[in-house]
Symmetry: C2
Subunit: 234 residues, 2 copies
DNA sequence: CCGGGGCTTCGGCGGCCGCCGAAGCATCCC
DNA sequence: GGGATGCTTCGGCGGCCGCCGAAGCCCCGG
């Protein structure tokens, strides 16, 4: 069975510290240049170039040229899901007293995860919507209830209307909170809407998000989320 | 961010050919001894021992002693999902004219994927249930319809009754067929039932399944699946 | 047209790690 | 108890691969 070899090859590709750092840097869904990725991984551009070439050839990354820059991004949501899963398992086990700095704290409060929101904010949103009967989430999947659809329409979320049947959403286990939040099409639409409403914006240099004053008001009114709900536990 | 290091470490663990082969061998959900895994990976027992120790310490495998044997299995469904995703991505890209032997052909027709059915059989089941309005499957998730619940009860499938709301099921992209089939709790329950009914049984030495005469009849009566439906394309 | 910056290719060095032989433990069977 | 079997630990060898310096290519701006 040579599919084993392909399995090992793909995993090994992710398994290098420099490449892993670059992939993680791309987990916010944006496209970055080779130079930015090199500095994110702490290596020289020429080394990064080699890595990026291999990742692209393997179908993990996609690249598009724009002038003299070359922008690299994750090739597909499947890649993002894969890294999510890896992070989940990686976070689960060893936990050897990682010193969590302030940057990390910002990340834990709110961030993007490829195309949807993650962190305590996302978990709080999922909790609120579940408590209100707007969505149902289990380990296997999730769906929006009729009440939820009405709520989302009111919020201006442009989730694809249910063709026939229910609008499903994918649960995504938060690596920092170890609780599920909303991913999939619905998660992406929610995230887009929050940006459009100016409720969140990217913090300088990183995946972390800043919740704007309008955002605090919006999340309170729409989901009943208070600032205390997003403070770290302990 | 030291979670990057953990990410790379976990991926690198899977990224070794010998370890990948052992993990793949465990993807049928059974527990194997170190010796069996060593031969599956084509290495000596002492080398396998080292690998198994590392995989277990990282939380990818679980081990239980039974007499002088030590049985190793995947530590959790999360690990199985991860490898699934890796196989999906690995199968997607390179495709360098892999000679598919007869063993591979058996694998493509029917096999187990950790705790549920996979291969053409599983895809045909998912297709039939979808066509009959018994389940709905999208990329984001899936659910059983009321009609589907009734059907499953009639079949004797012991899927946990819906607590409140719908019984979700997880879609799983088949690495050989590139089409989704049913995973999650429902997939596991269906698989268990098929074994209990004697419709399928394990082929000697491998993940491949053999469909019994009773199975052919059962799959025809229950799902309308004909032998032609499971023949390879081309 | 020419200078400069971003990116790539090439070559060689260095370290990590997977591999096996040999030896040591544990468990079961007779 | 003796011997066989299954598994582990130890030590040393060998190869793969990630790293950077230097040089070349491409695209932009002036």
């Amino acid at each position: 069975m040579s599919s084993n070899a392909a399995l090992a090859e793909t995993a090994a590709l992710i398994g290098d510290p420099a490449r892993a750092a670059m992939l993680a840097a791309l987990m916010d869904g944006r496209a970055l240049t080779a130079g930015e990725l090199a500095s994110a991984a702490g290596i020289t551009p020429q080394t990064a170039s080699g890595h990026l070439g291999r990742l692209t050839e393997a179908g993990l990354l996609a690249m598009e040229r724009q002038g003299r820059h070359r922008y690299h991004r994750l090739a597909s949501p499947a890649v993002a899901r894969l890294i999510e899963g890896l992070l989940e398992l990686a976070a689960a086990r060893p936990r050897r007293a990682v010193a969590t700095g302030p940057r990390d704290a910002a990340l834990r409060q709110a961030r993007t995860c490829y195309d949807h929101l993650a962190g305590r904010l996302a978990v709080a949103i999922a909790d609120a919507m579940t408590a209100r009967g707007q969505i149902e989430l289990t380990a296997d999947g999730g769906a929006v209830t009729p009440a939820g659809e009405a709520f989302l329409v009111g919020l201006g979320v442009a989730a694809a209307p249910t063709r026939r049947g229910r609008l499903f959403c994918r649960p995504c286990l938060d690596w920092s909170e170890r609780r599920p939040h909303v991913a999939g099409v619905l998660g992406a639409a929610l995230c887009t809407r929050c940006f459009a409403l100016g409720w969140v914006r990217r913090r300088a240099g990183g995946r972390a998000l800043e919740i704007t004053p309008a955002g605090w008001a919006g999340f309170r009114d729409a989901f009943g989320i208070a600032p205390e709900d997003l403070r770290g536990p302990a």
